[in-house]
Amino acid sequence: MDFTFNEEQTLIQDQVDQFVQKEYDWETRQSLSNSDLGFGESNWQKFAELGWLGISVSEDSGGFGGSAIESMLIMEAFGKGLVVEPFLETMIMAGSLIDDHGSDEQKSSILEPAISGEMHLALAYAEPQSRFNLSDVVTEAKSEGENYILNGYKSVVMNGPSANKIIISARTSSSQLDENGITLFIVDSDSKGLSKTNYKTVDGRRASDLTIENVSVSKDNIIGNLDSGFEILDSAIDKAILAISAEAVGAMEVLYKTTVEYTKTREQFGTPIGKFQVLQHRMVDMFMEYEQCKSLLYMATMKHEEGASDAKKAISGLKYQVGKAGKFIGQQAVQLHGGMGVTDELNVGHYFKRLTTVGTIFGNTDYHLKKYTSL
């Protein structure tokens, strides 16, 4: 049993923490989030130069061969600064999927430019009716000669606006809810018939809805085997849950600490409000919820790394806890900041908003509680 990080991991953790502290103050974050792009292109290039983008990608695919632990450390530090650069979308959701299951040609033409910061990616899995069920797929792909013709609709594709390539799940056989018969296609963003409706999301990031009308994709752009995309997608989402949970843990840490500091200075009735026992206990609960999340994060990440048989159950347990704790910590941080907590000006409300979307993305507490029971 060992909860310490090795030297390289400690190094990367310090490096990302330093970046967030020194180069990502709140004003910078807000101006990036409110820019047309929605994040900083120069930051993205910096992540590439520092080797962060490829850190968890295998050496065979042109990365640095790190594990999910490196991704966890990066995401946790990003969570502290509410970093909006789409590391999760490009490198974890889509990147790890190509790393694990892509062909050599796909790795060299997509993953390598992604690692060097030249290409953005997105994973389009949700549909208007699917909620969190990855196997509920109506978008279909029909074989036509050497190509497949895709038709359908994808909802709330994170990083959709910037993505040059989008991985789309489509049904190639079986019925709507079947796990079999789903295939993953890599689609060029500027393909004929693919149209994006782009928008800002409540957490200050960017997403798109995709209308897919007779989009022609060559067979070379299938990831893995025909009809067997579900398992690939499911394992990519597992990695994404670990990463987004790490981000949430970072955000929770900032929120509980900010709240504690605020209650030490805010005076009402002639005394700092942090002296009131009802608020003290509330903050103790926030702190404990954060610690519990961190424990499950470490446990689930290690189980996933080991390939433990109960790793998926651990991941669902983690996501349940992150949803529950994120809601509690977010809501109470706002409550204890009083009116200031609901202002756009203060960062607290923005951390709360990100924890709110994290609670939904890849499945809410109900979904993961049910999944936990079934595993």
Partner: protein, 397 residues
């Protein structure tokens, strides 16, 4: 004990329903049903329609309205039907807050000057209570009013002032004297928002909306005749108003409407082979909320019944504030849960109701509403303060 309505009450309910069918303007109804925020003139128009029928200032003594007095049950029925039809919430600062202070503590001149224009919604009021340093501890307020000859000179700042950008007048708690007991030097002052020296600055909230403001006072001259009650009596007036501030029934009826809307909408959301409403986890949350809501409704009815027999609302209004706001927050949260990913696309007020939005047509206002409603457990005395009130006043702790 009897839960049945009398025949006269049933007839009254029919009258309300008929009134709504004929008098509730289609254009306002359409916006309300789509949850598009109303413009000021639309709210005014609706309040004037209600007033014409005698159903606007229903809690005022009839001396000031020349309208027929409604019984407690009729008021309940009226507000329930208004909420059921999703009519606009009336703005409480004039009719529900300033007016009761004026007709209870004001001079005849003040009554004559201020009440008619509140009644016909010509003059809009806002509330100058909270200050940057005085939230839950309202009595620590610092905005100063010094009497010089026949004028008060006001200096200071008020915050969280709802709709100040639209208001013609503001009623303020100001400090006219600095004494050892901070409650004693407070006075209640009415100030024309057009007076030189007043500046209104918007505060944007996390839902992206402009609802609240900072209001700054820089040597603002207020005629001494605008003092309500005695100088130094402001804290008693504030306490009177807190107990008087009861939009409860309308709140509960609106929540019943929203909960049934939640059921309707979630019964159309597919989940696997069934619907979201059929999902045990989601359904149980709706049912728990419904039971809590019913309990709160009847707690309110018991309070009203006691009041109609001469009791006065005291700490009981704290129970209703806590339970009502918790329910508002829970239901707004369930809407977010229902939408899943489609709660995330974010639109500003002026984009809601346009064709630009993605997802179900009711989706765009859901997340802003959830975020906006974090305020309800903070404002009007935070729920922590309300629990202190109950523990002190009812439990004697």
């Amino acid at each position: 004990m009897d839960l049945k309505f009398s025949e006269a009450d049933v007839t009254f309910r029919e009258e309300v329903v008929n009134f709504l069918e004929t008098e509730y303007p289609d254009d306002i109804k359409e916006k309300q049903d789509k949850r598009i925020p109303l413009e000021k003139d639309e709210i005014v128009r609706w309040q004037q329609i209600l007033n014409k029928k005698g159903w606007f200032a229903i809690n005022w003594p009839t001396d000031y309205t020349n309208q027929e007095e409604l019984s407690v049950t009729q008021k309940y029925i009226l507000q329930e039907e208004l909420a059921k039809a999703n009519t606009p919430t009336t703005i409480p600062f004039g009719v529900g807050m300033c007016a009761p202070v004026v007709y209870t503590f004001g001079t005849d001149e003040q009554k004559e000057k201020f009440l008619p224009s509140i009644l016909n919604s010509e003059v809009w009021w806002c509330q100058g209570y909270s200050e940057p340093g005085s939230g839950s501890d309202l009595a620590s307020l610092k905005t100063k009013a010094e009497l010089k000859e026949d004028k008060y000179i006001v200096n200071g700042a008020k915050t969280w002032t709802t709709l100040a950008q639209h208001a013609d007048w503001i009623f303020c708690l100001v400090r006219t004297e600095t004494t050892d007991i901070k409650q004693e030097g407070i006075s209640f002052l009415l100030i024309d928002m057009k007076t030189p020296g007043i500046e209104v600055k918007p505060i944007i909230t996390i839902d992206g909306s402009h609802e609240v403001n900072m209001v700054y006072f820089d040597n603002v001259e207020v005629p001494a005749e605008n003092l309500v009650g005695e100088q130094g009596q402001g804290w008693n007036i504030a306490k009177f108003l807190l107990a008087h501030e009861r939009s409860g029934i309308a709140g509960i009826a609106a929540l019943k409407r929203e909960l049934s809307r939640l059921k309707d909408l979630s019964s159309d959301i597919p989940l696997g082979e069934g619907t979201l409403l059929e999902d045990v986890q989601f359904r149980n949350k709706i049912e728990e909320t419904e039971i809590e809501l019913t309990a709160t409704e009847f707690t309110e009815l018991r309070t009203l019944a006691a009041m109609s027999q001469g009791g006065s609302p005291g700490a009981e209004s704290s129970i209703l504030k806590i339970k009502g706001t918790e329910l508002q927050q829970t239901i707004s949260e369930l809407f977010v849960e229902m939408l899943a990913y489609y709660a995330h696309p974010f639109y500003l007020e002026n984009e809601i109701g346009t064709n630009e939005t993605v997802g179900p047509d009711y989706a765009a206002p859901v997340m802003p509403h959830y975020l906006n409603y974090r305020k309800v457990s903070i404002y009007g005395g935070s729920n922590e303060i309300q629990r202190n009130v109950i523990s002190k006043a009812i439990l004697g702790l």
